[in-house]
């Protein structure tokens, strides 16, 4: 029997082109005995059903992965989320992580920054520098990226409602480093819809938030084409207690809403869709998680092609970041968390993630210590270099169980998306609390199983021990808040306040009209207008969302 013509076509087209552009990590991938490990294993009979539902890596419907060579070409990006205290402390942690072999930065901002308050705002009391780094103005951002060449690293920023402001600051810092915007690589989270249902760092009402987001899509496509303009996140939906299928459903429903908003604003699908990225949770049910990642990829490809008519393959590909599940970490016997994280990270790699953050063992107690962060990174490195799972593509494909679960999650999530749309769409479902209730119910049932002992959490409701020695915890000194407030006052003394006022006035007028806000925000941050000042201007025009 000759080679299947579809397989041959893939080898001669997608695969060949990929290998020409990016050679694989090694010439030969072999196991311990010297046998060759196949790039990707296929069924003997490649039939229509296989072609329709699984296909080839790097080819529609992308069930088997978004690149033709996957991790044989390059490992996933090992991207550890970090940031605490002030910009100088966080800069030190970033440089430590880069020295240890992390390959991309991921910035955690403190809550005041994420909600658009300056450090001296009364709302910020007690929260400055706690869960991330405090950024008030460009002056902080300059310190944060000191000696980090922005044309060499890719930077992910977990920032949503004020994403436009932090992105503008990033572009301004790059400019000062002599790096042109076109050379910048990275991601802003910019996914406000999930903030209303799960994470809580909203500022403006949904409609105004969608306007800012589409402004960002448009500005980025023209100015920083290498940046992912959004990271549509199921992570926090899952953390809030949803099931795996709900995570996929609500994430893709949000994604559909963003795409529709951008189309309504007159953007071309194949211009902005290729810079949409995703962010999922990796929880402990390894096989279900692998199926979830595969199902999400296939669903998105189908939605983009069939519903939105996207023809560029890059628009159809669901590229995603993964973080292991914070909610599964226990404060008891914290070393057990290393095992949990290993299983979860493995699911992400078997599921074809593009980048990965592994949680540290002590995160149920506080922000992680440097030592714990290193172990978390080492977990990824062991999976990459020692486990062998990165030597072949989508190795669980064709397992009866995995394929059945992939189909099941696709069906459940598709039905749930239809339910949301029949109920008026995401925005109206958020306003009526429909999505929140679905997540809450799933969370409640799950926790009841733990309370009753039906679901065993090792070290918590079974196999407990008395723990005498408490692990060291990382603390953010309360002095950070005071210092940050002083620094902010100094920035305000030394800038050209008239220019700031003029820039803010221009922004206000644009917000009241239809102009793209990005150029005006960029102008304001370059004059050292603060994050709080910019967000307050927008608050006066857009109003605020209340829970």
């Amino acid at each position: 029997m000759g080679k299947n013509p579809e397989l041959q076509a893939w080898e001669e087209s997608e695969l060949r082109k990929s290998l020409e552009r990016f050679p694989e990590r090694k010439e030969n991938f072999t196991n311990h005995g010297g046998d060759e490990v196949p790039r990707v294993a296929f069924p003997e009979d490649i039939d229509d059903d296989y072609l329709e539902n699984l296909g080839f890596p790097g080819k529609y419907p992308y069930t088997r992965g978004v690149q033709p060579t996957m991790y044989r070409g390059r490992f996933w990006t090992m991207r550890q989320y970090a940031g605490f205290s002030n910009a100088a402390e966080s800069n030190k942690r970033f440089r430590y992580l880069l020295d240890q072999g992390t390959t991309g930065l991921s910035i955690a901002f403190d809550l005041p920054t994420q909600i658009g308050y300056d450090s001296d705002d009364s709302m910020s009391t007690g929260e400055v520098g706690k869960v991330g780094v405090a950024i008030d103005s460009l002056a902080d951002m300059e310190v944060l990226f000191d000696q980090i060449p922005l044309d060499k690293v890719s930077t992910s920023m977990t920032i949503n409602s004020p994403a436009a402001v932090l992105l503008a600051m990033y572009v301004a810092v790059a400019e000062k480093q002599g790096v042109s915007p076109g050379a910048l690589k990275g991601t802003i989270q910019n996914d406000v819809l999930k903030e209303y249902v799960a994470r809580g760092t909203y500022i403006f009402p949904p409609k105004q938030s969608l306007r800012i987001i589409t402004n960002i899509f448009q500005w980025c496509s023209q100015n920083i084409p290498g940046f992912n303009t959004i990271s549509i996140s199921g992570y926090h939906i899952r953390e809030a207690g949803s099931s795996a299928a709900q995570e996929v459903a609500f994430t893709l429903a949000n994604a559909i809403t963003y795409v529709q908003a951008a189309l309504d604003a007159g953007l071309e699908i194949d211009v902005f869709a290729k810079r949409l990225s995703f962010f999922f949770n990796a929880s402990s049910d390894l096989l279900e998680e692998v199926a979830k990642f595969r199902a999400a990829r296939r669903m998105w490809a189908r939605i983009m092609k069939d519903r939105f008519g996207a023809t560029n393959p890059a628009s159809q590909m669901l590229r995603f970041h993964t973080q292991t599940a914070g909610n599964t970490l226990t404060a008891q016997q914290i070393d057990n968390n290393i095992i949990r994280v290993t299983i979860q990270a493995l699911s992400a790699v078997l599921g074809g993630t593009q980048s990965l953050h592994t949680n540290s063992r002590d995160e149920a107690l506080s922000l992680p210590t440097e030592e714990s962060v290193r172990t978390a990174l080492r977990t990824q490195q062991v999976i990459a270099h020692e486990s062998g799972v990165a030597n072949t593509i989508d190795p669980l494909a064709g397992s009866y169980f995995i394929e059945e679960q992939t189909d099941r999650i696709e069906k459940e999530a598709t039905d749930l998306i239809a339910k949301v749309e029949n109920a008026g769409g995401v925005v109206s479902c958020i306003e009526e609390g429909f999505i929140q209730r679905q997540i809450e119910n799933a969370a409640y049932e799950y926790q009841k199983e733990i309370e009753s002992g039906d679901r065993i959490i090792v070290g918590v409701n079974k196999f407990q021990v008395e723990e005498e020695v408490k692990p060291p915890v990382l603390r953010v000194d309360p002095i950070v808040e005071k210092m940050q407030v002083e620094k902010l006052a100094e920035v305000k003394r030394n800038r050209g306040n008239e220019k700031v006022a003029a820039a803010l006035d221009g922004l206000k007028k644009a917000a009241a009209g239809d102009d793209n806000l990005m150029p005006l925000i960029l102008e304001a941050v370059k004059e050292y207008a603060t994050l709080g000042e910019i967000c307050n201007v927008l608050r006066t025009i857009f109003g605020e969302y209340k829970d």
Binding site: L111, I115, M123, G200, Q332, L367, A443, Y444, E451, R475
Partner: protein
């Protein structure tokens, strides 16, 4: 889960900017299932807003949740705000990502009970029951 004999009213509050309310919502619902009347404030409330709600709703206890590390500032601030509203007798309980060494500081500041991750819910319900009974008797 334990049933209460008297129907006490309690308030669950999220002070500060932390939006992680899976735990707070679970406790609110578990208390409801155990027979309490529960008012949940929603996320991102100031200590003053929480105290005002506690007074207005005439509750017998307040439960606070924070996972952002701001508990040492925010929990005592709620106790103070209750005192200033003339409701210093309402007991305040707290929970979240709280290092063990902070528990004694919080108790000194007037927080009657502090729950860390992994605490069985029955233990929390019981603590609310006792706090409400003590408040009733005071």
């Amino acid at each position: 889960m334990a049933e209460t004999t008297h129907r006490y009213r309690v308030l669950i509050g999220k002070p500060g900017l932390d939006g992680h309310d899976r735990g707070a919502k679970f406790i609110a619902r578990a208390l409801r299932d155990a027979g309490f009347e529960v008012v949940y404030t929603g996320i991102r409330r100031t200590p003053e807003e929480i105290a005002a709600a506690a007074v207005q709703e005439d509750v017998s206890a307040v439960g606070l949740s924070s996972l952002s590390g701001a508990h040492l500032r925010l929990f005592p601030a709620v106790v103070d705000a209750l005192g200033k509203s003339g409701a210093g007798d309402i007991p305040v309980l707290g929970g979240g990502v709280i290092p063990d060494e902070d528990i004694s500081h919080l108790k000194q500041a007037g927080i009657v009970e502090v729950f860390t991750p992994g605490t069985p819910v029955d233990q929390i319900i019981q603590a609310f029951q006792q706090a409400c009974e003590a408040h009733q008797g005071s």
